[in-house]
Amino acid sequence: MVYIIRRLMQAVFLALVMSFLVFAGIFSVGDPVAILIDPEATQAERVRLVAQLGLDRPFHEQYFIFLGNVLQGDFGNSFVYNRPALELILERMPATLELAFASIVIAVVLGIPLGVYAGLRHGSVGSKTIMAGSILGFSVPNFWQAIMLILIFAVILGWLPVSGRGEVGQFMGIHSSLFTLNGLKHMALPAINLAIGHLALVIRLARSGTREVRAQDYIRFARAKGLSEKRIVMVHLLRNILIPIVTLVGMSFGGLIAFAVVTESIFAWPGMGKLIIDSIHLLDRPVVVAYLIVIVMIFIILNLLVDLLYSLIDPRIRLDEVRQ
């Protein structure tokens, strides 16, 4: 428990440092009013807007006002939309979360069996094909994959929609497009697009883990004991290759949530990634800062979950050790 609290304290400190860096960074990039304002506006209107947004104050004052408001739970209003920044982000979070979830599921459900197979049947044609595919998977640029997926499955074959989020269904109080056929169809291409790179990594990790573990004494012993191949793979092997994969999945999930920017913008997916990239373009500082704080929190929570999972998978690991 102490451990968890300490981690959360670290998180708060990290968020504070990060908010300062981002705030200073955007402050030095330029003047949001120069981009936002109507070219037809007069000087008087410009001056009034600058004052309304509080941009006429010196940097340190702006930052302390911001900090004071954050302590009261107010991340400020977006310069562009004039709505609370946090509200804008949270409103788009479900779309991003469901996409990240779907692609992680694809990466794990396909990646582990393929990787284990490639490791067990090392040198076979099947194994070589899988490995060649995985190299292709993480070396082909993400945006190009996306456009090819659209071209093949949406334009030429017409099986799946080009872009957008489909119908949103409700299940146990959760609204998500995972629960409708139309929603799943819309999600298929962006989820595959996001998954491909991670799938390739999971395959490689599972394969190298399998090759290492299958030569271990306990696997030989299990074989000597006459256990079925199925049991050896499913119980003894799988459990032992899982630690690096869990780490990877945990970190990938954070990355998928925070940086699905390319996929979200090509597939017009109304998630946070698209919001953040638009906000950066328009120097919408409140949204950028709030977003990064939310992302820092997500990463820290995921790290924590990964650590907790370690001790579940491998009883030899206790949290004190993880901490070291």
């Binding site: 990039v29 330029g30 003047d31 009013v33 120069a34 981009i35 936002l36 304002i37 109507d38 070219p39 037809e40 506006a41 007069t42 000087q43 008087a44 209107e45 410009r46 807007l49 309304q52 947004l53 209003n77 310069f79 562009v80 939309y81 004039n82 709505r83 804008l88 409103e91 788009r92 456009i147 659209i150 071209l151 949406a154 334009v155 017409g158 929609p161 080009v162 872009s163 957008g164 989020r165 913008s265 090509i266 597939f267 017009a268 109304p270 698209k274 919001l275 638009d278 950066i280 373009h281 328009l282 120097l283």
Partner: protein, 517 residues
Amino acid sequence: MAKLSKLVSATALAALLVSTAGAQSITAGLTAAPSSMDPHFATTGQNQQLAAVMYDRLIHIADDGSFAPGLATDWEVSDDQLTWTFNLREDVTFHDGSPFTAADVVFTFDRIPEVPNSPAPFTQRLAAIDSAEAVDDYTLVVTTSSPAPGLPTDLSTIYIVSETVNDASSADFDRSIASNGTGPYRQVSYSPGENLVLERNDDYWGDLPDFEQVTIRFLDNSASRVASIQAGEVDFIDSVPPNDLDRLRELNDVTVVSAPSARMLYMGVDQLEDTTVQIDPSVGNPFLDHRVREALSLAINREALVDRIQFGSGLPANQFPPEGIFGHNPDIPEFEYDPERARELLAEAGYEDGWAMAIHGPTGRYVNDTEVLLAIGQMWSQIGIDVDVVSVPANVYFGRATDREFSSFMVAFGITTGESSLAYRNVLATVDDDRGWGSNNRFRYSNEEFDAALESAFDAFEDADREAALQEAARIAAEDIALIPLYWEGNNWAVNGDLDFTPSPDGRSLVTNLSTR
């Protein structure tokens, strides 16, 4: 077997029903998402092209640029030119069924200054108005403190909302609970950054649009926008990238509609002082010399910019208003391309060896902007100037341009009001913060003669006088080579083969301009 054929015919019938329903509802893919659904939040194009189909103005603009009756059927101004009387259209109802009256107009005028934190407020467009009074339900009297010939133009951009809006915030419009206009479509739902669903207002007083329902999706990625219309997922897209025009034209079930826009790209050159920031002080400021500006203009091959870089989309420009926009001066000659003459002029001006400088432009703001700037850099190099081309991300660029960190830079100004006075007031008039002139004059051109012509345009009550004054301003700017015009950007739309799209002069992607073939 009989059962099967019955099933087949039932399916066919269902498919038929679906396809007729399909003709009644269409989906449009627009590039730019609005910052708010509040029609009074921002004057930006993406906000206005949506507001314009849901809300009427007192005065509308016809396709030829002239005024047309909107919610006001006619209007007149008193002899002292200070009192305007508007007769309002009767039997018009808002989307919630309540009747439209003069009180709603007064409410709208009062609401506009109260909309907080707008980055592009409408207040300037009401600045001339001293008071507005509803004399009776269908008569509105507006007084101004000084004669305001521009009032009808200003009012043609003010969206009238119902008094029932009350003290609703901009966010209430996003939630579709405050949206209440008199326009041909009414707002059903809006998901920010995703889509906007509109339904036809069957009680509309004007021409009814062809479609019962329009879903507008916001697709800012050009590749997926083009793919969406190819796959038949949307019926209409705007901002077709010029690079894709030929490919789309070859498709049978897609029609490409192109029209020149009133958005002119230009190179501004610093004309304030004897030195300029991007050029070595020992050289001085060459741009002060008319011959140098003329040489820079002569060195630019505008046809090539449009044909090669923009794939034929656009028109070489010689003044802000293109033909068809009020104030266009047809007597101004095309700006020629003559690098020989340009070199001679530079020599005459004492710059036969040229000088070294950086030129600046934004990236990702205008269509193929970096390529255009590179081409200009090369064209200027050919007349002996040592040019360093610098492309700056748009979010940094405009702040730096306003801070006058550039000596020679590329910008566009789009005319959205159907006439050229605002372009002149903001870009070319001598900077004067008190009266709000020259707010975009980042290169500090200044000519009293030009300012006088513009002033008389703002003061003129008769259209003919105004037009003459604006044309005079255009002539002075062109003769001075106040800035170096490049081209008017082209607008390109693609529509599904069953539909027609009629571009309006302001270049907006109005879904009311879509019709069945």
